[in-house]
Amino acid sequence: MSERQIVIVASGGANIASLQFALQRLEVASAVSADAAEIRAASHVILPGVGAAADAMSRLRSSRLDNLIPTLQQPVLGICLGMQLLYEASQEGDARCLGIIPGRAARIAPSKDRPVPHMGWNTLDIRRPCALLAGLADGDYAYFVHSYALEVSAATVASTGYGAPFSSCVQWRNFYGAQFHPERSAAVGARLLKNFLAIN
């Protein structure tokens, strides 16, 4: 355990404290950093995110992390907006993102029985086996808060239905993503974080 060096990218998101507390509950220490050398040296990198895509990207650009992150070789986990940033673009503020995973986040279409933002507990449908999802099953509940989503694609390992199904967990090479908030998804979220930290 001690050789693991977990770095949370200081992307300005408001959920960094909750994420650190969730890792502490797993008895795992983490550092928050925007320093390229520190991020590159990490065993696991977490890209959190709450807020707007364009803002988050401009913060990453100002610390030149937009060039660094796509080159990382260790496991990287994007959470919520952090997952959307792994894609090519987002409709939110017409933002160009990190361009690691093909696709573009689009606004969820609201309807009478499906308000947007999509906020609350919803179930996972597992699409293909993935180390991130070890021990998790179809129908497990996770906590979502988002207005934009990624459609199901080759990167999707779990989807969730809210109108059309969207990608709730993704994996693309060493890049992983969760559209929901594992740090606030009770036992399911804790398991996902634990799974991520066990990936080498």
Binding site: A14, N15, I16, A17, S18, F21, A22, Q24, R25, V50, G51, A52, P110, D113, P115, V116, P117, M119, G120, W121, Y141, Y143, V145, H146, S147, H181, E183, R184, S185, A186, A187, G189, A190
Partner: protein
């Protein structure tokens, strides 16, 4: 859970852990004495709650600026809820939503029933300062959404504390104009009331305090009953 800050933090943490373990889906912490007294409050408890909880929680009470909201969110809360300060200065909703995103911004509305409709009440945490704003609840809910509220918690005061069930008629009327998640509050007295409000008023969530604090309704039992009634709930 409603508390004034003389209540020791230990009580809050203990309750938070209990509800977490019982399967509550989200907790809301109301510092009900904060707004009427026009003061800012010591929020060191937010961090301690955030360490304890692995479910989302919202902090309400006395948040009257972007800076105060930032402090609460950075301490680990998912959402902040504004009520009286948003009535004093509705632009606060715009500012919070622009800074943190609509998903963080809950607008709490205390609403009273009159002969000619529903009206918003202010400073309800203090019986001496509590006042009728003469604003229509429906208009205020529309305005709050336009300004960037990501969720509305509607506390129907004529039902609050009476435990005879949620105010279905009012919640239905608000549901008609509410395109963001709507949370029903006020009136829960029995498990059937929860089933009723989900089915009859199509709310996204239902909130209660005293029936849970007292143990009259246990969360696991409530969830079992809701599932039997065909309502999808997290186990």
């Amino acid at each position: 859970m409603r508390f004034r800050d003389h209540r020791v933090v230990g009580d809050i943490l203990e309750l938070a852990a209990r509800y977490r373990d019982e399967g509550a889906d989200e907790l809301v912490f109301y510092d009900i004495s904060a707004s009427p007294e026009g003061r800012s409050v010591d929020r060191s408890w937010v961090t301690r709650v955030a360490r304890t909880l692995d479910i989302p929680f919202c902090v309400a009470g006395g948040i009257r600026s972007v800076a105060q909201a930032e402090e609460v969110l950075a301490s680990g809360a998912e959402k902040i809820s504004v009520n009286s300060p948003a009535l004093e200065r509705p632009e606060l909703i715009d500012a919070l939503s622009q800074r943190f995103g609509a998903q963080c911004v809950v607008v709490g509305v205390d609403s009273q029933t009159f002969d000619h409709g529903y009206r918003v009440q202010q400073y309800t945490g203090d019986i001496e300062r509590s006042r009728d704003t003469s604003r229509s609840t429906i208009d205020w809910v529309i305005e709050a959404q336009r300004r960037g509220a990501g969720e509305i918690v509607l506390n129907c005061m004529s039902n609050d504390g009476v435990r005879q069930g949620f105010d279905i008629a009012q919640l239905r009327a608000i549901r008609e104009v509410c395109r963001v998640p709507l949370v029903a509050s006020g009136g829960a007295g029995a498990a059937e009331h929860f089933a009723e409000v989900f089915q009859a008023a199509q709310v996204d969530a239902a909130l209660a305090a005293s029936v849970f604090h007292s143990g009259e309704i246990s969360i696991p039992n409530l969830k079992r009953q809701l599932r039997r009634a065909g309502i999808e709930v997290r186990p």
